[in-house]
């Protein structure tokens, strides 16, 4: 039996089996669905609230405003990713997982693919709904073509970039959290570390009086730089281009995944 199993395309088979196993785990835990739902609801609710609380003023970045909720949803997305790893350590499940699939980096890759895919799907729904909410609410607040504001539309290049970028932003935040959780293992420590990493730099950058330092801090901050992708006004004044900013977050996520992979590889589970 075992010979027959390992005969046909073992590498491909192992990968799909691992992915399937991770999907089964994620699907059968109630928290996955609730957290994805919470991420969507939070994105749309916070975005709509921010839009509704804003009065028309010149020079506002409407795309960014209508996607404010992404900043709230990222905490939920991070929690989802942390739980995908940490709960295995809490319950001892990780030993079963690694016995069934001894190639540890494959396990991590499967988790990353699954969590990333789930967040991409939920993020797409959330961002589309937020843009729609902005499109419906904004004209009622004086953001009309008569005042120099175009109706928010995905046919507009920068707005489309902001929307797609926000979905990718959420997925990258999930991967960053996944990597950190794999390295830290403890769910509380992992959650604290992810949120501290996200929130620390923007606050420090806001009060550093030295603008040279401020610019550098913003360039390396995963959250500030990553959110540049939402900018549609004053793009030239940003320290990085929108896609470069998202790239900074991508580097953070890749670094966290590599760190997590190394810890997973070299430490006893």
């Amino acid at each position: 039996m075992s010979l027959a199993l390992s005969a046909g395309r073992p590498g491909h088979r192992a990968w799909t089996d691992t992915l399937h196993a991770e999907w089964t785990k994620a699907r059968t835990i109630a928290s996955t669905g609730w957290l994805l739902l919470a991420a969507v609801v939070l994105t749309v609710a916070v975005s709509a609230a921010a839009v509704a609380a804003t009065a028309a003023a010149p020079g506002l970045d409407l795309a960014r405003l209508s996607l404010t909720g992404v900043q709230a949803a990222q905490a939920v997305v991070a929690l989802l990713a942390v739980l995908a790893v940490s709960s295995e350590y809490s319950t001892g499940m990780i030993r079963v997982t690694l016995t069934a699939m001894p190639r540890r980096h494959t396990v991590l890759a499967a988790k990353a693919a699954l969590v990333g895919g789930l967040v991409l799907a939920a993020g797409t729904v959330a961002v589309l709904a937020s843009v729609l909410a902005g499109r419906l609410i904004l004209p009622g607040h004086g953001f009309t073509p008569a005042h120099g504001y175009q109706l928010l539309s995905l046919g507009d290049g920068p707005v489309l970039r902001a929307a797609c970028g926000s979905v990718l932003y959420l997925a990258l935040i999930a991967l960053l959290a996944l990597g950190i959780a794999t390295a830290a293992r403890d769910p509380a420590v992992a959650t604290g570390a992810v949120l501290a990493l996200l929130y620390l730099v923007p606050v420090v950058a806001a009060v550093v009086s030295n603008q040279h330092w401020q610019r550098h801090l913003e360039q390396i901050s995963p959250m500030t730089a990553g959110l540049y992708v939402q900018a549609t006004v004053g793009v030239r004044a940003l320290p990085l281009t929108p896609w470069q900013g998202l790239g900074v977050l991508g580097l953070w996520a890749a670094g966290a995944l590599i760190l997590g992979g190394l810890v997973l590889r070299f430490r006893d589970a």
Partner: protein, 542 residues
């Protein structure tokens, strides 16, 4: 028949007092290495960020020397680099003191009475004259533009004074020594509705009166200016503070300041008492450091004075939004508290959730069946540990940041020592209360990740959103009023002046609630969370 004596253990009964329970919880806390590391990390993060902020600021004022800021910074921060010490008033607080003063010496007791018939905004001379054919938009009168009469010790900026004045939109006020402010008659001044003002000096005491008709006078206030010399300067004055406006207030945070000028018309000027001179002298009072050069002029035509002035006689408000770059309050270096809090939150969560994860809770509750007492003991232990953590972190931060700033000749915001102690004590209280709140959340939720996330989202995230203007200002203000993040106001060290229009944002060191009110809100949340946690702990199986 002999009775059998039941076996009794020779070991003495263990005491099961609350002290034992506290001791047990304290033993649990101090024997987990990771938790002690977590508290240490909190101290290091708070102190490290404080020192980093000083370092980054000092680098910005590295005049001539090759700091990390490099040459490009010198142009931008030349002002902060050359910043002289701030002008301080009689109470030791930083003040601004520039206005246009039409004066005579008053050598002894006496009084001065004037009638003000108008106060209007003028376009400041600094704007230059518009090109021909271009009409400038009308300028708005600043709410705290002021014109009236003042008795001032001498012409040195920052010297003691008392004044009664009409203001742009705050009615008649009597103000003294920069921080004092008492309202008089409400309403705007106009030719149809003039205001009569009178100041009377008797020794050290100066009394202000106002009247709508010059016949019926109301006493507005009397102030003691200790050590006032016999000869002082007195007369009409005018001033108009710099305008502050933020471009959008949301997701941009850019703001602008501009000089403004106001003009007032005085008549029915009368004096009684010891006035040795007979003519009036007009001139600008302004500090020599050039920050507020001051502007103005006056004309006197047949008993009618037209006085125009720029500047303000008021306390300064700290913060980057108020042009206070380069002068930070010592409390502002406690910015890292919110990150240190994340470490404390992680430890406080695990102090409860680890019991559930390891099954230790069953041992704990078997040993001490009074579940409410267990929760109380845990709350006291984690609260005390967090209090010490916060106290050490804040004390180390403020002391090292102050020392480092002094060593580099970097000017700090002058404050009485009590104002520097209050954010230290406030930080300790804040950290302790938040640890207890997190413990209660951990008791309700039982799961580490969820409990940590909930605690961070309700405590740290509202502060973050309001601080970085990631949400519109109105929402940010409410977040800092009703969420547990209201407790951050315990770190506020500078007083808020209602008679000064300025940015009072978290970034500038101000919170929407007074420290005691924020403390009360946070205490309310802690009490509510402990009550729910106690109920759930008692009514759920462990």
């Amino acid at each position: 028949m002999s009775t059998i004596t039941p076996y009794r253990s020779p070991v003495q009964d263990g005491r099961d007092g609350f002290g034992q329970l506290l001791h047990a919880e304290w033993t649990k806390f101090r024997t987990v290495r990771g938790w002690l590391i977590g508290m240490t990390v909190a101290v290091l993060v708070i102190a490290g960020l404080g020192v980093f902020l000083v370092y980054a600021s000092v680098a910005g004022v590295s005049c001539g020397t090759s700091g990390p800021g490099g040459q490009t910074q010198n142009a931008q921060h030349g002002a902060a680099c050359a910043a002289p010490p701030l002008l301080v008033g009689p109470g030791g607080e930083p003040v601004t003191d520039s206005f246009f003063f039409v004066r005579q010496p008053l050598a002894g007791n006496g009084s001065i009475t004037v009638r003000v018939t108008s106060l209007t905004a003028l376009r400041p001379a600094a704007d230059g004259t518009p090109p021909p054919g271009v009409r400038l938009p009308p300028v708005a009168l600043m709410p705290w533009a002021k014109a009236g009469i003042i008795i001032k010790q001498d012409l040195t900026p920052g010297s003691p004074y008392a004044a009664i004045m009409v203001t742009g939109s705050n009615g008649v006020r009597m103000q003294w020594n920069y921080t004092g402010d008492t309202p008089g008659l409400p309403g705007a001044v106009s030719a149809a509705s003039p205001r009569w003002l009178r100041l009377t000096r008797d020794g050290d005491t100066i009394t202000g009166y106002d009247s709508a008709d010059g016949a019926h006078w109301t006493r507005v206030g009397a102030v003691q200016l200790a050590g006032l010399p016999s000869a002082v300067q007195a007369g009409p004055f005018a001033a108009s503070p710099r305008s502050v406006s933020s471009s959008t207030g949301f997701a941009s945070g850019s703001f602008s300041h501009g000089p403004t000028e106001a003009g007032a018309v005085f008549d029915h000027v009368s004096r009684s008492g010891a006035w040795p001179a007979s003519t009036w002298t007009g001139g600008v009072v302004a500090p020599s450091n050039g920050n507020n050069p001051g502007a103005g002029e006056y004309h006197q035509v047949a008993g009618q004075f037209t006085v125009a002035g720029s500047g303000d006689i008021a306390p300064l408000v700290p913060g980057p939004g108020n042009g206070g770059v380069g002068h930070n309050t010592a409390g502002s270096y406690l910015l890292g508290t919110f990150v240190g809090l994340i470490a404390v939150i992680v430890v406080a969560t695990m102090f409860m959730t680890a019991e559930y994860r390891r099954g230790l809770i069953r041992t704990t509750l078997a040993a001490s069946p009074g579940r409410g007492r267990v929760l109380a003991a845990k709350a006291i232990v984690i609260g005390a540990a967090a209090f010490v953590t916060g106290l050490v972190a804040a004390a180390v931060t403020v002391i090292s940041a102050t020392a480092m700033a002094h060593a580099n000749g970097y000017p700090l915001w002058p404050q009485p020592w009590s104002a520097e102690l209050s954010p230290i004590a406030g930080t300790a209280l804040l950290v302790a209360l938040i640890a207890v709140l997190t413990l209660a959340v951990g008791t309700m939720v039982r799961r580490s990740a969820a409990a940590t996330m909930i605690a961070i989202v309700v405590i740290v995230v509202p502060y973050f959103l309001a601080f970085t203007s990631a949400v519109p200002d109105g929402i940010g203000t409410w977040l800092l009023r009703i969420t547990p993040a209201a407790g951050f106001t315990l770190q506020q060290s500078a007083p808020r002046y209602q008679q000064v229009q300025a940015f009072y944002r978290p970034m500038d060191g101000f919170f929407p609630l007074a420290p005691w009110a924020g403390f009360a809100v946070l205490c309310g949340w802690v009490a509510l969370a402990l009550a729910v946690a106690g109920y759930l702990l008692r009514h759920r199986d462990a």
